[in-house]
Symmetry: C2
Subunit: 372 residues, 2 copies
């Protein structure tokens, strides 16, 4: 079991700490994504230096390459990738729908073909939980089904019901061990009643944490916040609530305001490889010619190595020249920026002024040319 302790609250926002077999992490927390056993373009010691205390690994990618059997033989994902802090793995449910080919969904699970070599595989609640165990995840996720929004209510209902039966099988398959936890995933699209049904079913089963799934799949921030106005409240406040795959800085600030404790997203790392910088002045596309002679640091207030030692002109040059160092420095910066944001968020909750913090943040965002 993982443990969750809440130190402070500010409105619906909570300032807490999760304890796992690999230490603690502070919430609200942002988890950088280490899809294939690496946060792309970053050394793990640098991921650590940004303040990240937990990473996300992808079951789908790792089961296909290098395979879960191999990672187990190597002593687990922590050792394999040289990360000594906590790891959460997703269940593969989302990737199998978005990346694999020739899927067949039955009550049993999902049969699919690898996007790498066309080989056939099966993911079910039981196989997903076993694989996450082999990887050595501190936090495993229940295997669920994700459908793209918008979708007809009937389809969302059918999918949500299936996911709840899979949640129960995931719980049964999970071997309870000290320091290791299993999170259930709420589904239900943008439908209040389905969200309530899903929450009820999950709570009945009982998990160490609860994720809100099926959002950030194209519905837009306004619609997402509309669901988050009620969804987190349907889940136990004494367990961490985790919004999967989110998001932009403003998504995170607005979601914490609505009671969310944990986040993950490829955005800062992917942006780092495509010359998109997150700064306190909004986002910047460093390929833009306006940075050719800009000798200012990326973000005056940032303490990351990219901002401490280099100019925007240098970063622009690296991206124009197609240099790997561009992706290295900007990924470092973006992950650092996200962890700075989480530090600011946690501080504001501790001070009991989170609502002011969020209001101010959205005020600033409104004035940004390329908003966060």
């Amino acid at each position: 079991m993982t443990a969750f302790k809440i130190f402070n609250t500010s409105g619906k926002a909570g300032r807490g700490q999760v304890t796992t077999a690999h230490g603690t992490f502070q919430t609200p927390a942002f988890m950088p994504v280490g899809t294939a056993g690496t946060v792309k373009a970053m050394f793990t010691k640098d991921v650590e230096a940004t303040g990240a205390e937990i990473l996300l690994g992808n079951t789908y990618h790792l089961m296909l390459r290098p395979t879960a059997d191999r990672i187990e033989k190597f002593g687990g994902l922590h050792k394999f990738m040289n990360w000594s802090h906590s790891i959460l793995t997703d269940s593969g449910g989302f990737q199998v729908m978005s990346l694999s080919k020739l899927r067949k969904i039955t009550e049993e699970g999902v049969k699919f073909q690898s996007h790498l070599d066309g080989s056939t595989h099966m993911l079910s609640p039981e196989t997903s939980i076993r694989i996450q165990h082999q990887l050595g995840a501190d936090i495993s996720m229940a295997f669920d089904q994700c459908i793209a929004l918008p979708a007809p209510e009937k389809a969302v209902r059918k999918s949500t019901e299936l996911s709840m039966r899979w949640a129960e099988r995931s719980r049964a398959a999970f071997k309870k061990r000290d320091g290791y936890g299993l999170f259930g995933i709420m589904q239900g699209g943008t439908n209040y009643d389905l969200r309530a049904f899903s929450a009820q079913e999950l709570v009945k089963i009982g998990f160490e944490g609860y994720a809100i799934g099926g959002l950030a799949v194209g519905e837009g921030q306004e619609e997402m916040f509309r669901v988050l106005d009620y969804a987190p409240d349907m889940l136990p406040a004494d367990k961490p609530r985790y919004l999967m795959g989110v998001g932009k800085p403003s998504d995170i600030v607005g979601s914490v305001l609505r009671g969310v404790d944990m986040f993950d997203c490829v955005m800062p790392s992917r942006a780092g490889r495509t010359a998109l910088a997150f700064t306190r002045q909004g986002t910047l596309n460093l390929r833009n010619a306006c940075f050719q002679e800009d000798t200012a640091p990326l973000d005056e207030q940032c303490h990351c190595p990219a901002c401490q030692h280099y100019t925007r002109a240098y970063l622009h040059h690296l991206f124009r020249a197609g240099e790997i160092l561009g992706a290295m420095l900007l990924t470092y910066h973006n992950i650092y920026f996200y962890q700075d944001l989480m530090r600011d968020i946690r501080q504001a909750i501790e001070a009991g002024t989170y609502e002011d913090f969020a209001a101010e943040f959205f005020e600033k965002v409104k004035q940004q040319k390329r908003p966060l």
Copy 2:
């Protein structure tokens, strides 16, 4: 002027130190190549951590992008790329022949079209020296002409004579400043008399160091060593002798034996991006399936982060998955391996046992499946 001090000799091999405006570097020295203002896939602090004390920058690449005017405006190449130690820049003479399009060579210099955007540029002794000054190079190289070997003797002679006239113009164009030096480049192909002529001309002009150019252009190690059996001896022993663009570890060991003090080569960094590892057991291609479950470190005796924290299986996985971290870790390792080699070489010269060291090294290389 840069200064050169020799501490020990062992046969023809010398153990020395060069002092520039940005500190000292120990010889024999290997300079990692930072073509476009970055040693590809490495943070400068990590380049420093390998023990490298001097980098090579490419005039041709930097004059085209971001341009020498910009780098000068930014405060020079050291500041631009965050490297506080010495920098040597080449003259652009080699790259203009191998990379640019539509070249026209006259007594004045080389008119060429940029390989990036087709724009027209001129490199001459005067412009090359001015650009290297703008970049802030501690050591500038005379502008010369390189021809591919094998070539008819007449062509080599003509080219060598032109290069010597350009060497004189380079010397005249170079502004003497404390801590900054200019190296002349010996040409002459594989022809003894032309090498002797070239050396004579250069010594008449007088430089702070002498490079041996026109080798490692496809003639093979045996032929190269044949030239190096006499070429370094034609140059003053109280100035550093620099073999340009060399090479494999065995090239370096054999060249030091023949009196060479300085080297540069893209090999360790380029290999690091293409899964080729330099180890004490020879080279390894990490993409090879035999490493899929190899839990040994890359090189048991290496203290770099790739060898300290990861398995060959992990590095194999990174290259198979196309992960940037693979290039990052392996480039770090390869540059570290080269600097370890230079440390071993310097130690053997200090001990006065360099000939034994070299003989042992070549004995080992003979037994390697993929030799160094």
